[in-house]
């Protein structure tokens, strides 16, 4: 069995994401979605509901009253907060343990994913994109392929380092040469296995692929730029560091410029720092 086949096997064995998360993604992918339908869907999974309500009622939100239902969460914290907490709770389960392959400390890959989700949402708002409701989810899922790839990297770390030292090369190219697959393609396979909506699958699979970014449209462009913003801030950067090609076409497609990137960074650093405890709490919620 070659390396690619071994990775494929691990990808196929990754437990499926809860169906309710996929349904939530499908609902909010429609810009005209019904809040009632969202609340009804979120309420169908009592375990998820309990976890989300615990986060809503944490001191971090500072609410003066107790939130008892997903409907109340929407009323007091907004639909996007409900969606983001529900998806984060479902996705965080895959980010336990160290990602030693990428030389990341415990929790770092999760932090990078959430930062990318937040950056996606901020860029979408600034670009007045119709993808605002799915932007966070796409960002938080964009590196799901790394979860499966991580275990194969340590044995090849020396070769990867040598490869990177030779010339400024995109890390996905190095992954493909050394391991036979890159983490974006791996993430696309996971997204297909989970039957995620097509725009989500494309954004995960193509977030490092400029020709596909042009073809896919805004969500993939948002994830590409948000990923670069998060890397730039050093959030959850491992052995791959910042070794990824930035595609300006993605920024142009969103109608944004360098100033927008700086302003998004300012907002992101403040929001990330303010919500750091909540981000880590969402991850620990999944451990129980």
């Amino acid at each position: 069995m070659n390396m690619r086949e071994k990775i494929q096997e691990v990808l196929d064995q990754l437990p499926p994401i809860p169906g309710v998360a996929v349904r939530i993604m499908e609902i909010v992918a429609d810009p005209e979605f019904s809040t009632d339908e969202l609340v009804a869907t979120a309420s169908t999974d009592p375990v998820l509901t309990a976890k989300v309500l615990r986060l809503c009622n944490s001191s971090l939100y500072g609410l003066s009253r107790e939130i008892r239902t997903p409907g109340e969460a929407v009323a007091y914290l907004g639909t996007r907060t409900l969606v983001n907490l529900a998806i984060s709770t479902c996705v965080a389960a895959y980010y336990h343990g160290k990602s030693e392959g990428y030389f990341l400390e415990e929790g770092e890959l999760w932090k990078h994913s959430v930062a990318c989700g937040m950056a996606c949402q901020k860029l979408a708002a600034r670009a007045r994109s119709s993808m605002r409701n799915v932007a966070f989810t796409a960002g938080v899922l964009h590196n799901i392929g790394k979860v499966a790839m991580a275990e194969f990297i340590p044995d090849s770390a020396e070769l990867i380092r040598k490869n990177l030292a030779e010339a400024p090369r995109d890390f996905t190219l190095v992954e493909r040469e050394v391991l036979g697959m890159d983490h974006a393609e791996a993430g696309g396979i996971v997204a297909e296995n989970w039957s995620l909506p097509e725009i989500m699958t494309n954004a995960i699979r193509n977030h490092h692929s400029p020709p596909d970014i042009e073809k896919d449209g805004e969500l993939t462009a948002l994830v590409h730029v948000a990923d670069c913003v998060s890397m730039d801030l050093g959030i959850g950067t491992g052995i791959d560091g910042l070794s990824y090609r930035f595609h300006k076409g993605a920024l142009d497609m969103l109608g944004l410029d360098q100033n927008d990137l700086s302003l998004v960074k300012i907002e992101l650093v403040e929001e990330f720092s303010k919500n750091h405890d909540l981000i880590m709490m969402a991850r620990s919620e999944t451990a129980g």
């Binding site: 995109d170 890397m231 730039d232 959030i235 560091g241 990824y244 090609r245 360098q258």
Partner: protein
């Protein structure tokens, strides 16, 4: 990361207490046994200052070069930007007894993604801003580890001014 995890080879004393300098902040210390640390710099820059005679150490971790993009933020948090944060760092450093004539200054960070047309070159701009300010003020940079595509963490010992730079999977080096 605990202080004891720092490699003895790097010369930072085991058991040293780490004082983290978060992104968009700065700190100046003169307490023995402490180590200033900034993690995962990415395109951000850390400037380290040290006066070996009075053992005063200072570090800033700034994110963007110029404050003109958001003067309000610069007012509330000058350490977010190089042009407003660096003067604050030096001011505190001198206030704690550090002297310019004995100053040892180090520059770390400023990495960038692979960017063919320069739209994402904040790392380079962050480094240039510091160099320009030092040149204008007649300050020599003792050593620097900047640019490239690696995210660095930097440690500065109050005891002896030793500066250690680490990167994921890339080991560590004493500057």
């Amino acid at each position: 990361m605990a202080g004891s995890e720092l490699s003895a080879a790097a010369g930072l004393r085991c058991g040293s207490e780490l004082v983290v300098v978060d992104i968009c902040s700065y700190k100046v210390l003169d307490e023995p046994g402490k180590v200033l640390a900034s993690f995962a710099l990415g395109s951000c820059v850390a400037v380290c200052l040290y006066d070996p005679e009075v053992k005063v150490a200072g570090m800033i971790h700034y994110m963007l070069p110029e404050s003109k993009i958001d003067p309000g933020k610069a007012e509330s948090n000058p350490a977010m930007f190089g042009d407003t944060g660096l003067p604050c760092l030096f001011q505190d450093f001198y206030a704690k007894g550090g002297k310019k004539r004995r100053l040892k200054c180090y520059l770390v960070g400023g990495a960038s993604t692979i960017d063919c047309d320069g739209s994402f070159n904040v790392g380079r701009k962050n480094v240039l801003l510091a160099r320009k300010l030092f040149w204008k003020s007649g300050i020599n940079v003792e050593k620097e580890d900047t640019g490239g595509r690696i995210s660095r963490s930097v440690f500065l010992s109050v005891d002896d001014g030793r500066v250690v730079v680490k990167s994921p999977g890339g080991g560590e080096q004493v500057l």
